[in-house]
Amino acid sequence: MQLSAVLLIIIIAQIRKQLIRSKQLPDLQELLKKSIVVVAVLFVLTNVGPIEEIVRLVIDALLILSIYIVYNREELKPYRNIMYAYIPFIILSILKHITTMLPESWEDAVETYVDAASAFAIIWMVAMLIIANKQNKALRTETQKREEEEKMKQLAEEKKAELEVLVAERTKELLLQKEELQLAVEHLKATQDQLIHAEKMASLGELTAGIAHEIQNPLNFVNNFSEVNQELAEEMKEDLEKMQLSEADKTHLISLVNNIRQNQDKINFHGKRADSIVKGMLQHSRKGTGQKEPVDLNEMVDEYVRLSYHGLRAKDKNFNATIDVHLDPAITKVPLLPQDIGRALLNILNNAFYAVNEKKNSGIPDYSPTIRVNTRLVDKGKKWVYVTVRDNGNGIPDAVKDKIFQPFFTTKPTGKGTGLGLSLSYDIITQGHGGELKMLSKEGEFTEFVIKLPV
């Protein structure tokens, strides 16, 4: 009856193989490995006479145990169909074994049945093994397929994760690019606005100069003829005095001549006024005349601050202001048209002094008029000098901020300003010197002009 021992070894080996394949219960795997050795020893021992019976019993018990284990452990479910093939054979072999222990007469009676059953059990076993083998094969291919699918799925997932990282990176890049582009667009818009403004100012300047040019000749005639008329009226008066006329006629005629003379005075006065405006307008057309020369800008600024201050003091003895001048010693000589820049500086400084004076005269208590002037050398790859003039006057209302550089725009009362000063300063600084003139202001608090000139 060594057959049961061989079967037991086969079953144990197969169970172990099954477990190895499905990578389950490593402890049991180890145990089974050892038990193969044990069963092999038992197999040898079946040939040792005295303990043969006991060994057989042990093997039977182990077979039943193996059936139990296979049907009890969920992990061994795939093996059950093979086990199924062995069961009749195992039962039969145990029965056979039991029959050997029965009395002789019983044994003979049972033997024929057992032999028949043995044949059946073997056929059963072979058939079942074939079926199980087929099933297992199918199962294995199925499992393999599933594993492959699983692998593919995993691979796809990995790819997906990789792609997601890439997409995130690209998105980040695109967002960054978008922000950069937005910034660039804003920059372009600002530049465009500046260009439009500069273009507008330039064409306004040209227009102003053009108009002035056209008005100049007729206005000259008006002034010249009115001057001749003044002279003629004077002569006429002298001649009338010499004439033999009645006192009443003489008085009447002389008063008429006086009226004419006075009217001519008025015509001439207003003509001259118009002439000074026209001259201011013509300044707009003076482009690039004269050579730029290196000028000590600090000295110039200092000089013009004093000039402007004393100019206003001469008109208004009560006027007083704190003047705070900071000059950057790094500034040496700057190439410029001294007369033109002087004019621009004076315009801006006069406006500053005018603004603080106005605020002071409006009677604000504890107001101390202050003008801050400073120069600064800035190196941004290209060197620039900044001249900043800041006053703590009434500031410029937002509504007119865009207009202050336009010709004829003025907030001063009639006769006090032509509205040409800042527009001319703007032309001198931007067109004449390739610089910039900017204004910052808060109504009621301050106004600041920044002149930027290339060195």
């Binding site: 040019h213 100049q216 000749n217 206005l219 000259n220 005639f221 002034n223 010249n224 003829f225 001057e227 001749v228 003629l232 002439d275 001259k279 013509l282 300044q283 057309s285 003076r286 005349t289 004269g290």
Partner: protein, 123 residues
């Protein structure tokens, strides 16, 4: 002294005649007028060496004051008449060109007759 005044504005004649009325009455000055550069050249060729002083505007339709100046300085060498150019206020470009072409003196618009008379030593 004979003065030829060249200007495209016709009213200049009335103005000069009134401004120089005393000098004209006294015979100290004689005035002639031309209303274009071409007219001025015709006058000069018809009245050879009569005009001592030529007062010319620069901006004129047709021949400009500068061209006229060029012609005069080229054609009349011995003795060349004195040419005073009248330039517009702040017109440095024309001033420099006239200077190069040999203008003898300059007056700026608006004409100040007192200055002109001073230059002519009539005061």
């Amino acid at each position: 002294m004979k003065i030829l005044v060249v200007d495209d504005e016709r009213d200049i004649q009335m103005l000069f005649e009134q401004r120089f009325r005393r000098e004209l009455r006294q015979g100290a000055v004689e005035l002639a007028f031309a209303f274009s550069g071409e007219e001025a050249l015709t006058y000069l060729s018809n009245h050879h060496h009569e005009a001592v002083l030529i007062l010319s505007d620069i901006n004129m339709p047709g021949m400009s004051g500068l061209e006229l100046l060029h012609h005069i300085k080229e054609r009349y060498e011995n003795p060349p008449p004195v040419v005073m150019m009248i330039t517009a206020y702040g017109d440095a470009e024309n001033f420099n060109k006239a200077m190069e072409l040999g203008a003898d003196d300059f007056l700026t618009k608006p004409l100040d007759f007192n200055i002109l008379k001073e230059k002519l030593k009539l005061n």
